[in-house]
């Protein structure tokens, strides 16, 4: 843009320089630079050399030359061009087909010499307007360019800062890595004795538990005996036991005498001491008469059922494509952490089955506890070191990403990084976050639409940094993914000036920034030259 502007200014200056010269007679539509080829009263040779014609066939409204050069001032040749001097403005070539077509193309009206069109000479007015706007542009460019220098400077400093910080981080990373390795050893050293002590503790607890269990069983047997011994004669008889249908060995619903006798080891009745052997045979099935419903056989399937239900429920709730991949990754990382923590042997709350519910492991003895505390501290220290390292890694990654961005030849666009700029239109608020994304949000409710993620610089070869391309935005119904082209122009301020949607789902955004302002070389001279006209 600014490059083109410069060219424009230069050519204007040249013209302005010669514009005041005396008008030399030349055939209509011929530019000054080609005047020498059109010599009056001498045969004219087509500029491509294809043929030579009498001079009176130049501009005679019939096309003789293949290149159209014999008719610079008429519309006769399909490929000719007409030169308007446009004194006061800038000269121009127009296609021959625009001569005498009833439309005023040259501001000096010279293209409409025979069409009946009434054209006003607007060159001076246009020149004035253009000078004004050029002046404004020049000022903007000048100031913009100064700002740009500042931006470059800041970016350079910022870049150095970042580079420095990165080096610093690299250093601390090394330190942290060393530290972490050391702590890993410490952790290992502390965890081995801890493990042993814990195992010891657990073993003794298991033994103790067995004793308690046996004690309990004995109590239950005594209770059962008393309960069964309906006539309190100190014996449990066949008849007394027969009422306990749950003990039916063949589960046919009736407990026969023979069966009962079998349970009692062939005897008709047993006393307390003999009951011990009987008890071991029936205790699993025996139901205390105080309980109405047999709990055990029902409970197990119930539990399974509910477990099944939960797992089904889970899979219903999270179909394979439910969670985004990113989330999965994060989850995995977290899971790793959990696993590590879970490696720590279970403490007091280890869930045992019902029978043991009331029983809880006694606290570790002091010696073991000391070992555990020591190991826990070693683990905590190790974890902290690891976290610190991860953090540094993250910082480095971000820095490297930022340093790696193409912020222009002098990093003049670096200041746009992690900024956002908004433009409000009648319907939407558009948001440009350079090097990140473009989005659109309805003004009156509704969710934000992604109009594209940072893609690349997309200007023409000679001016790559004049256009940004954002793509892979939200998909369009029956169409492509949304994308946005951002055109950058020189301005003192960093602003989104307009947005449009030339094609469905292809957005165009105009964005001014000092970062694209070009050096206004010898601008003062140029402007000075203008005012002379």
């Amino acid at each position: 843009m600014s490059c083109a502007l410069l060219l424009l200014l230069t050519s204007l200056a040249l013209v302005m320089g010669t514009g005041t010269a005396v008008e030399i007679q030349r055939p209509r539509g011929v530019p000054q630079s080609k005047r020498q080829f059109y010599e009056e009263n001498k045969p004219f040779t087509c500029l491509d050399g294809s043929s030579t014609i009498p001079f009176d066939q130049v501009n005679d409204d019939y096309c003789d030359c293949r290149d159209g050069s014999d008719e610079p001032g008429t519309a006769a040749c399909p490929n000719g061009s007409f030169h308007c001097t446009n004194a006061g403005f800038r000269p121009a070539f127009i296609p021959s087909s625009r001569i005498n077509d009833g439309i005023c193309d040259c501001c000096d009206t010279t293209d409409e010499y025979n069409s009946g069109a009434t054209c006003q000479n607007t060159c001076r007015e246009m020149g004035r307007k253009e000078r004004e706007s050029l002046q404004i542009m020049a000022e903007i460019t000048k100031e913009g360019f100064l700002l740009k220098q500042q931006l470059i400077h800041e970016a350079k400093r910022g870049q150095e800062d970042k580079q420095g910080k990165l080096t610093e981080l690299q250093g601390s990373k090394k330190g942290l890595e060393g530290k972490m390795e050391a702590l890993r050893t410490v952790k290992k050293t502390a965890e081995d004795p801890e493990k042993e002590a814990k195992e010891r503790h657990l073993k003794s607890w298991e033994e103790q538990k067995e004793l308690i269990r046996m004690e309990k069983d004995k109590t239950r047997m005594a209770e059962a005996f008393l309960e069964l011994d309906d006539d309190a004669d100190g014996y449990v008889s066949v008849a007394e036991l027969q009422s306990h249908l749950e003990l039916d060995p063949d589960s046919d619903g009736s407990l026969t005498e023979t069966e009962t006798q079998g349970l009692l080891g062939g005897a008709g009745k047993v006393d307390t001491s003999t009951f011990e052997t009987v008890w071991s045979g029936i205790k699993d099935k025996y139901l205390s008469e105080g309980l109405s419903d047999p709990p055990a056989p029902v409970e197990t399937p119930k539990e399974e059922e509910s477990r099944d239900f939960v797992s089904d429920h889970d899979s219903d709730h999270y179909p394979e494509d439910y969670a985004g991949e990113e989330e999965d990754v994060e989850d995995d990382e977290e899971d790793d952490d959990h696993e590590e923590e879970e490696k720590v042997p279970p403490t007091v709350q280890t869930p045992e089955k019902r029978e043991d519910d009331e029983l809880s492991m006694p606290p570790y003895d002091t010696e073991t506890q000391i070992l555990i505390d020591a190991a826990q501290k070693a683990r905590d220290d190790f974890d902290e070191a690891e976290r610190a390292l991860r953090e540094v890694d993250g910082q480095m990654k971000n820095l490297e990403k930022e340093i790696g961005f193409d912020f222009g030849p002098s990093a003049e666009f670096a200041y746009l990084y992690s900024q956002c700029y908004e433009l409000s239109t009648s319907e939407y608020i558009y948001r440009l976050c350079p090097f990140n994304r473009v989005s659109q949000k309805p003004k009156f409710g509704g969710s934000e639409t992604n109009l594209g993620l940072w893609g690349q610089w997309a200007g023409p070869e000679e001016n790559l940094y004049s256009v940004m391309k954002y793509d892979h935005g939200q998909g369009c119904w029956q169409g492509p993914n949304r994308s946005t082209t951002v055109k950058l122009t020189c301005g003192k301020e960093t602003v989104v000036t307009s947005t449009s949607e030339p094609s469905r789902c292809e957005y165009l955004m105009e964005f001014t920034t000092p970062a694209v302002c070009q050096e206004p070389a010898s601008l003062d001279e140029v402007l000075h030259g203008h005012t002379e006209l």
Partner: protein
Amino acid sequence: MASFIERMCLYRVLVLSVFLSITQAVDRSNFKTCDQSAFCSRQRAMKPGQSSYTALLETLELSDSHLTVQLLNNNNKVLLLLELYRLQGNMTRVKINELKPIKPRYEVPDVLITDPPTELMSVLAQDEHRVVLSLGGEDWRLILSAQPFRLDIMEGPQVLLSLNSRGLLAFEQLRIRKDTKSQTDTEEAGEKEDTEKHDKEKVSEGEEEEAEEEVDQPGMWEETFKTHADTKPNGPSSISLDFSLPGVEHVYGIPEHADGLKLKNTDGGDPYRLYNLDVFQYELFNPMALYGAVPVLLSHNTHRTMGLFWLNAAETWVDVSSGQGSSEVPQTDVRWISESGIIDVFIMLGPRPNDVFTQYSSLTGTQAFPPLSSLAYHQCRWNYNDQEDVSAVDQGFDEHDIPYDFIWLDIEHTDGKRYFTWDNNKFPQPKDMLQGLLDKRRKMVTIVDPHIKVDSSYKIHTEIRSRGYYIKNKDGGDYEGWCWPGNAGYPDFTNPEMRKWWASMFAYDQYEGSMENLYTWNDMNEPSVFNGPEVTMHKDALHGPWEHRDIHNLYGFYVQMATAEGQIQRSGGLERPFVLTRAFFAGSQRYGAVWTGDNAAEWGHLKMSIPMCLSLGLVGISFCGADVGGFFKTPSAELLVRWYQAGAYQPFFRAHAHLDTPRREPWLFGPDNTALIREAVRQRYTLLPYWYLQFYHAQRTGQPVMRPLWVEYPEDIATFSIDNEFLIGRDLLVHPVTDERSSGVTAYLPGNGEVWYDVHTFQRHDGAQNLSIPVTMSSIPVFQRGGSIICRKNRVRRSSSCMENDPYTLYVALDSQGNAEGEIYIDDGHTFKHKTDKQFIHRRLSFTANSLSSSDLSPDSQFPTASWVEQVNILGAQKPDAVTLTATDGGESSVEFEFDPDTAVLTLRKPGVNAGVNWTLHLR
């Protein structure tokens, strides 16, 4: 009843799933097959056989203008009245209506331009079996046979056409509903067959028993399609009639279908359907109905061309069956079935193709003579977003030096799809925009659709409502349906008062922001009703006393009529209108242009544009085009270029694109493609004088502008099925490249003994051969007929108006005898003054005996023109010694020339004579 509905539902589900599984582009399940259309399936169930109708010759009456005779249906004893007319210009009109209908049946008004003038008919012979009538000439006769009823049109011993020869005349008389009975009947599915058997027994049994014992069939009194119920308060009313064409293998016409030029046999498939419908993403090679309907069929063989015009605006199906007739003569049978109205058919007897065009245009009128600029290039897109966009596109054409005349605005330009308004944000200053275009001598078209947003703050709506101009639903309230604006009403364009009011809305002080360079596009006028049955209006909606069923295919015709009238009126009757329509009917040619609707960016659709426009041209609608580039989907650069090249040689030349497609202005595909498109558009502009002349002829004679080859070479069988090339007028043959990565095409050059000249290289080729033409991306194979003279304007400018005063270059293509002839037509290009004030130039250009001269074909007309003759190219010439010009005043001057022996082209330099005067150029 309940079980019946259940069965229907089940049936529909089945049908739906079957169709869903084979759906490609179009959702076919949205549209009826013949089986799903109660009257069509009822009528089609009737097989050829002996007709149940007898002509009661004792009732025959012959007047000066026509003959009447009663027809008796032997099955139910219902009497019909047959009217026969011999019309001037070798036509016969056959009308059949109920003798005493219990209420009037619809007869299509406004399509015929006059009551067709009749000629005297005389009885040549008569006995109790038949009447022989003279149709004029030596041996043109019409034979009316009594038992069974049939008509034969004869030339000498030869039968040209028979009517009811297969006994398919069926006329469902209006009747009173026998309520309880109809319900019980419909419950029994097997009843139908029983009834038929029963009927047959009755016939054989005998004569005068209770004839009223007709049994209702399902769908006679109500019909359901998908979720839409069609209450049929008038009951069954369909009609059917068969025609046999002995000796005929080729039939054409009955547009609009996305199918080849030559009509196909419909045995075993669906008939061609004529029912104006908004078909989303239509399929190719399919007899399904599309946006427009012209119930005109042409038959052709080497001896004779004939036409059948079935004047009926209700849903119509046409069966075509070709095969061997008796004694191994080929024969084509055609059967027409319509849902309501009467039988009113015009038999156009030719015998030459141009006679049929003359005959048909004497009935329905000729193509409106369009403004010259509307023959130039049109740039359209859904949508140009705002004024800046319009200005940028306009600028783009100038920057890339591509001419264009019209830029179009689709529905988004309006304030919420309220036609006649502008979106104030996007188009705050429409007049500034239009003035900007006017300054470049360019024009604009805005869309005005016939669905009107129901919105009490919208003037157009409140006016129509308060005047009672809306179509009514079956219960008498305003009919409402969904279209672009949401809920919308549909003005009753069949009402002349409504049309008058509509026309007045185009006045400059009514249509705010309009100017003289703003023209109109009528879309969605089938009418399209998004939530209606088959995306159109319920058939039981009411237009005054008539059901929508009766007038359906006429709706779009009336919309365009009223719109064109509005444009004429706003200029005080001075300026010619330009209105594009999507829906059309017979006679629509009188009101403007037609395009082939929402096609797709596919090579197949590019190919299809040729037969579709050729078919329309054959039935009077010459101003036809397809969306260049394809409406749906995105064309490759190659397809786009090829479409521009083809479109540049079709009558209506407009690029258009769907809202969801990427931009495709001609310069967006790289400089090479831009140059190719520029060249194609420029070729169009150089030929505008020729196009204009063709439309002048079309308006005067009814000849199609874009013609199948057989129209000019009716005896050359090789031309009969060609629909990948065509003629513009008589003199240009175009074979567009319509294949991807094509390296060559084979064009058939017709005419034994004729010669054709490649218009680009001037190479000469003999006629009656298949010519292989190697092609590159820049090739547009076009040939000028030897013996013709074509005038071009080679100074292509920004728009056609800018070229008004430019000089002409003549291309004189000599035939094998060294002769050539052509015409030139000049007027102001946009007013009716050529008609009202005889302000035009029409001259004959003739090259014979080494002299080229211009002579006046219309001495009583005049028009001042600044145009002159800048160059004459004589193709197939020999080198002369000298060339002299004799001007009007007799003065002689010598003319410079150049001869290229390689191409045999003689170029005369700058004769300089005015295009409107007499002159002669002599080669010595």
